[in-house]
Amino acid sequence: MSGMTTRQALRIARRPVRGLVAGLLMVVFLTPFYLMLRNALMDTKGLTSPHWTWWPSTMHWGNFTALFSDPTLHMGQALGNSLLIAGITAPVSTLLASAAGYALARIPVPGRGVVLALVVATLMIPGSVTFVPTFVVVGSLGGINTLWGIIAPGLFNPFAVLLFRNFYLQFPSEIEEAGRLDGLGWFGLYRRIALPSSGAMLASLGALSFIDSWNAFLWPLVVGQDPSAWTAQIALSTFLTSQTINLPGLFAGAVVTVTPLVVMFLIAQRYIVEGIATSGLKG
């Protein structure tokens, strides 16, 4: 009896402790965002001063305009490149994977098992390590210092193919049967019935693909050496590793490259969480 009550007492006491721990951790996790924004609006003197300022008394918005007017940084063009690259990669890679996943799940052709095995085999190859082989192929096709050279290898995601295949295997065949009665062929069934029902999957995997593409570093570094092909990450990295240290400018650069994704993250959070859960657990 007394054991029961102490246990209950413990449980009740644990609740506010848990809340407190969670609250503190939340502050720790969000602190870097606050620091980034604060630093981007300060001047060098304030940043290097040993006296702590919570928020700049005068906001130095000039840090942002200087970022875009500095001709050596190419920040404007780099942001445009990133937007174009991620904006093409996300929808195209997801659609290609969906179409291939449907074909592998539904269309009965001899040798489908072999094709599936060939797709699965490419899953074994770790992504970043093979930048040399990919560079060799993209280089021979003339893709060095071009945006398509950065985009092309990222359009073919075997893992997404498998996720879509699993999805379409579980798709109720009665609906397709009805479509067939209406005179649809395989392509029509995909285009008119399967694809429109895959909205959530397309959004989830598309959002994840956009994030990966926007934040990619090694491959754009390998292929896009010329400033005309820089992505936002490459421009920021060049700024960070350059000899002139301009602290407020660096933080302004970080804000500019991080903000688009944070905004997208907040808008599409539901799909992103779903995407992580599906892709992680089936993998």
Binding site: M36, I107, T122, F131, V136, G185, I211, L240, Q269
Partner: protein, 328 residues
């Protein structure tokens, strides 16, 4: 183009009047030419892409790894296994393997425990759960480049105004150059905290999905038997999260072994490149070999050695955990 019309055997779209009886045939799907046409149309682009960027790339690169290829990606100057010998006898490469092993041994358990802990915490909190989850997950939107910038120039800045040094000064410690300190190697703290911040929310979401998959009545039955707190965690929660844990460990291992971004951005400088970095990962070594020295033969050999290592460890891990699954 009317995308919905079935294609004729010749592959051309059929005229609008005809689909009715064609559809009747298609009702019993056979491996006919129309199925082939649709298969090629839907899966073709993906298969061609994978063929070029995976199979051709790997094949070509394998041949390059057997050739002397400096400043060229042309084949022809065969040298057998010389590149592999050069690579494996290079102290810098072997050292980078050791460093990445250390890094993996550090980061994988820390991230695993951190993400599991966060998931258990968030799972049990009812009010404000969505806000908490967002707060822990949102660092996943930040790139390694931006995070490196924050960690190097703000949190672990060597100046007294750096955040870590400022907190240290409250306890009477003097300012430390975190990234440049090799004795003791303080840069590990910078590396581990950064990757933890960036990744822990991602794996937390995986664990949360796993936790939601555990049926409530399992807990209720155990509670009737008098199990509480830690015993519930050990006897029920952790075993039920087995598959998730295996997946998380594999993903973390593969990600850690390919670490590049933060090592490049924290340690390299415009003048010396990564030459003065206290620690090089295999990928940084490969980058310098293939992109810096333009030795594509040696770079290809490195890509194969690393791929073999990753595939090998993943297979072993899969086999061990696969056996475990049969037992229970």
């Amino acid at each position: 183009m009317s995308t919905a019309s079935p294609t004729r055997p010749g592959g051309l779209p059929s005229p609008p009047g005809r689909p009715a009886n064609k559809a009747a045939e298609a009702r019993r799907p056979r491996a006919d030419r129309r199925a082939w046409g649709a298969f090629a149309l839907l899966a073709g682009p993906m298969l061609i892409g994978l063929g070029v960027f995976k199979y051709v790339a790997i094949g070509w690169s394998f041949l390059l790894s057997l050739s002397e290829a400096r400043g060229t990606i042309a084949l022809g100057h065969w040298v057998g296994l010389a590149n592999y010998q050069t690579l494996l006898s290079a102290a810098a490469f072997r050292d980078s393997l050791l460093q990445i092993l250390l890094f993996t041994l550090f980061i994988v358990p820390v991230t695993f425990a951190g993400s599991l802990g966060l998931a258990l915490l968030v799972h049990r909190i009812r009010r404000g759960r969505a806000v908490l989850r967002t707060a822990f997950l949102i660092p996943a939107a930040v790139s390694y480049v931006a995070a490196s910038l924050l960690w190097k120039m703000c949190l672990f800045n060597g100046l007294p105004s750096g955040i870590a040094n400022m907190i240290g000064s409250w306890f009477g410690m003097s300012a430390v150059p975190w990234i440049q300190s090799t004795h003791p190697p303080l840069y590990w703290i910078v590396l581990v905290t950064m990757r933890l911040w960036l990744q822990v929310g991602f794996y937390m979401v995986l664990f949360l999905a796993g936790l939601q998959g555990i049926p409530r009545d399992v807990y209720e039955a155990a509670a009737l038997d008098g199990a509480t707190g830690l015993r519930l965690l050990r006897r029920i929660t952790l075993p039920m999260l087995r598959n998730t844990s295996v997946a998380v460990l594999m993903l973390q291992f593969i990600a850690a072994f390919q670490a590049f971004d933060e090592f490049y951005n924290l340690f390299s400088s415009g003048l010396s490149g990564t030459g003065t970095a206290p620690v090089q990962t295999p990928l940084v070594y490969l980058y310098n070999t293939a992109m810096g020295d333009q030795d594509y033969g040696l770079g290809s050999a490195g890509a194969f050695v690393l791929t073999a290592l990753i595939v090998g460890v993943t297979l072993i891990q899969g086999r061990i955990t696969g056996f475990g699954r049969n037992e229970g």
